[in-house]
Symmetry: C2
Subunit: 266 residues, 2 copies
Amino acid sequence: MIIVKVGGGKNINLDYVCEDFALLVKQNRAILIHGGSWKRNEIAEKLGHPTKTVVSPSGMVSVYTDEKGLEIFLMVYAGLINKIIVSKLQRLGVNAVGLCGVDGKTLEGKIKKEILIQEGERIKLLTGNFTGKVEKFNPKLINLLLENDFIPVVCPPALAKEGEIINVDGDSITSLLAKELKAEKIIFLIEAPGFLKDPNDENSLISEIKKEEIDKYLDFAQGRMKRKILAIKEAISSGVKEIYIGDGRIQHPLLGVFEGKGTKIF
Amino acid sequence: MIIVKVGGGKNINLDYVCEDFALLVKQNRAILIHGGSWKRNEIAEKLGHPTKTVVSPSGMVSVYTDEKGLEIFLMVYAGLINKIIVSKLQRLGVNAVGLCGVDGKTLEGKIKKEILIQEGERIKLLTGNFTGKVEKFNPKLINLLLENDFIPVVCPPALAKEGEIINVDGDSITSLLAKELKAEKIIFLIEAPGFLKDPNDENSLISEIKKEEIDKYLDFAQGRMKRKILAIKEAISSGVKEIYIGDGRIQHPLLGVFEGKGTKIF
């Protein structure tokens, strides 16, 4: 089992990603997980309800999701990006099925209605939040699809125990699914050549990371990359053998990482 | 097999619909098909790209869908409304799975890139259209879900042979699925007590229509209702025994039609 996680950045080339993924599924069991943050932000802006990003006192960046923000999230992730990917794969002969965590109660999580955020020197309490943490994977639907030659294309949100829809992190979904489906490989496709020592310098690629050393890279990681490295750490500890971070903007983004482009964590 | 088609009107009460549907699936095999036109129009308006409705020379009303309109369609139907219904059903203990026609290539259709429209006295040609006609149902995914106790929640769009995503009519999907899945009953839930002799008078409900007489009701039918009656005619000719048109705004919209509220076509 190989899990491919495609980020939601503006310059990710979904045509290139789907072309490679269509080759990958000929030889391997695989699932595609995707984001949609750039498009979500664009639509949110146009609808006059811009995405609100907050920073926790421990420095983790996340999105504060109110009810309207959740609607926009659903529209862009589960509607627009998910079905565009599915249609591109169908065009390439891959019998893809799109689903989000709500479908078949595939992903359950905990809602964090109230969150503490750091604003300058002050710590503030925000309420009415629909961002949460994914905690449980119910495999029935995805296994059924895989056993019957359908290729799952998965995205957040998840479902809370109370029945609410919750915005959860795509990288956390990736490490959870990798663990539960006993994936051998994960490939994260992002808007950079791989994991960079200096996020502003595309020539500072770190080509290899030994899994024993992953902790020290948490110091380099900034913003969203911090969350990704934490997800990678989770995946390593649950037995995933090889994890790649590759460039989702270029042709052959998946074949590329296997040929040594990008960052390999093993 | 019972097929419930929920319209996309502003005053449709999805909570009431889902409560009744959750009761229905305890005793029957059932599928829910939904629209989303009101919300689509609202979001399209807010995004500065209002929905363009056109009338064919033969008097059929339809939506002209350009590329941006298709994106909005995907967002609202396959993203927002579909997942809100799925989450409501999950909360009621129904293991619902949302899908659109693109998923598993469930619905295929023909794209009408160029359409003739009537504008006053003139007939005009419009190009770049992504509205089409649903023509083929590939049952594998929906049957697999039903056989494994998942309840499908289905919406447009469909997939064209050329791989494009196409906006197709929800009522046509309903009659196609009813035929292919050999449904005994269809219930259409709309924003009216049923089929009205005078669309502006809610007291002009026609309670019963003999199926032999359906043709004469095509004369009464105006706008969207014309399309619905054509879909009903299709469904009758493919062997569906009972078709109901009921009020999607009221409590117990489904139990109501079986108790004689609404219009029964049989």
